[in-house]
């Protein structure tokens, strides 16, 4: 970004070399990220199709969900995403201490998310809302379960990032791995936001 602002004002535009576009992480990681997004898109479409089959049932069941827990989890994940962005920046500036602290914070957020999910699942099952009750709860448990599976992978990724953050000068490959890991955590966050809207809010 800074190179573009250094461009001479009256200079010949064609001779100015453009900085190569920077892809966060490495191009390969986007095969996984986009691939995952496409499949979750199919999951969401399946849910919408099923919802259209029984709109009253889905709306009535939606009201039995605990929006407070859903919203808290959304905020927790958004905070963790912010921490990961800051951590990646700190790693780039060779500040291992700050980076590790931020990543530890993000990790705690991830664990809080898992904790709330466990509380929510337990409450739902206690109240008799199990996957076999109706299609809404079937999809609720499957979609949030698949997302929870991603959160668990993400926790592993954050631990990996913490081990990398300890190093002072990261090679280009390691830096790309760190950025790719950060992008994965953002994907986990993004999928949850869509899921939260789809399951808890859309009427």
């Amino acid at each position: 970004m800074s190179q573009t602002s250094l461009r001479p004002a009256g200079g010949d535009q064609s001779s100015v070399t453009r900085p190569a576009p920077h892809v966060p992480g490495e191009p390969g990681v986007w095969i996984f990220l986009f691939g995952d997004m496409v499949v979750f898109g199919v999951f969401f479409a399946t849910f919408m199709y099923q919802r259209a089959q029984a709109p009253e049932l889905f709306d009535a069941s939606r009201h039995t969900l605990n929006i407070a827990i859903g919203l808290t989890n959304t905020l927790v994940l958004l905070t963790s995403s912010l921490l990961v962005v800051t951590a990646v920046r700190a790693i780039r500036l060779s500040q291992p201490g700050a980076a590790q602290l931020m990543l530890a914070g993000a990790l705690v957020c991830g664990l809080i998310f898992i904790g709330f999910k466990a509380v929510e699942y337990t409450a739902k099952v206690r109240a008799g809302h199990i996957p076999t009750e109706n299609n809404f709860y079937l999809y609720f448990f499957i979609l949030t379960g698949l997302h929870l599976f991603h959160v668990l992978i993400g926790v592993g990724v954050l631990i990996l990032l913490m081990t990398q953050a300890r190093r002072r000068n990261l090679s280009a490959t390691r830096m790309a791995v760190v950025e790719g890991g950060g992008c994965f955590w953002h994907l986990v966050d993004l999928l949850w936001i869509v899921l939260f809207a789809l399951l808890y809010l859309v009427s």
Binding site: E26, P27, G28, V29, W30, I31, F32, G35, D36, V39, V42, F43, T46, P131, N135, L138, Y139, I142, L146, F149, H150, I153, G180
Partner: protein
């Protein structure tokens, strides 16, 4: 000569993928899958009405599924090349490769057994049919483990000219993640995680097909990398390390 043989092994994998789809889908008619919610009588009726085509399709699979082996041998060899010796990763790859054709043949055996005696008690046919679907759709662990090892190998390959591009590693992780829902079929009789569901069957099947094709292409490229390496070694009169 062995470049030709190894590339043939890679393409044989793709050919067998096509063969599997023809045998299961068009001959046996078992794809799209029957619903797990059917009663024993309804299930038995399917096996007696379509008994002959099911038996022909699955018998062909029992005969030919072993042709997946050369593809898996090549895969294990390339993992061995990255590892540099017969270490844990390549040996695990070999052991799990052995289970791959057995996954197909075991499920096919239960399927032909279900279709073999249309006059028998429907409950027995249903039990055999369940075994067919459990093995065919639900036994995802071996392949997922293989794919994760492969991804790990791609990432740790530090040689000057790596056998596989790094995106192939991420691609394998993608496949591994999407293959996991298949393991949930034992808990559901309807919905997307049942053995005929979107998440447990259709998406894993699609992704498996894509994985076989992409992996075959990547293996042929890895064979080229290996051939070039061998040529450079020969020019420098270096001994090839013992395999």
């Amino acid at each position: 000569m062995h470049v030709t043989i190894e590339k043939a092994a890679a393409w044989l994998g793709v050919a067998m993928l096509g063969g599997f789809l023809v045998m299961f889908w068009f001959i046996a008619g078992l794809i799209p899958p029957m619903s797990p919610a059917l009663t024993a009588e309804q299930t038995a009726r399917i096996y007696s009405d379509h008994g002959l085509r099911i038996r022909i399709g699955l018998a062909l699979m029992l005969l030919f599924c072993w042709l997946f082996a050369p593809f898996l041998a090549l895969l294990s060899r390339q993992v061995r090349r990255i590892e540099g010796y017969w270490g844990v990763m390549s040996l695990t790859q070999v052991m799990l490769s052995v289970t791959f054709p057995f996954g197909f043949s075991l499920c096919a055996l239960f399927g032909v057994a279900a279709a073999y005696r249309p006059e028998r008690n429907p409950d027995v046919t249903q039990a055999l049919s369940d075994m067919f679907w459990f093995i065919f759709v639900g036994l995802v662990g071996p392949l997922i483990t293989q794919v994760i090892i492969l991804a790990f190998c791609v990432f740790i390959d530090r040689r000057q000219v790596p056998s596989f591009p790094r995106w192939f590693g991420y691609f394998n992780i993608w496949y591994a993640v999407l293959g996991v829902p298949g393991c949930a079929i034992f808990l559901f009789k309807t919905g997307p995680l049942a053995w005929n569901g979107m998440f447990a069957f259709w998406i894993p099947l699609t992704v498996f097909c894509i994985w076989m094709i992409v992996t075959a292409i990547m293996l042929t490229k890895a064979v080229d990398v290996e051939a070039a390496e061998r040529k450079a070694r020969a020019a420098k009169r270096e001994w090839e390390p013992a395999a």
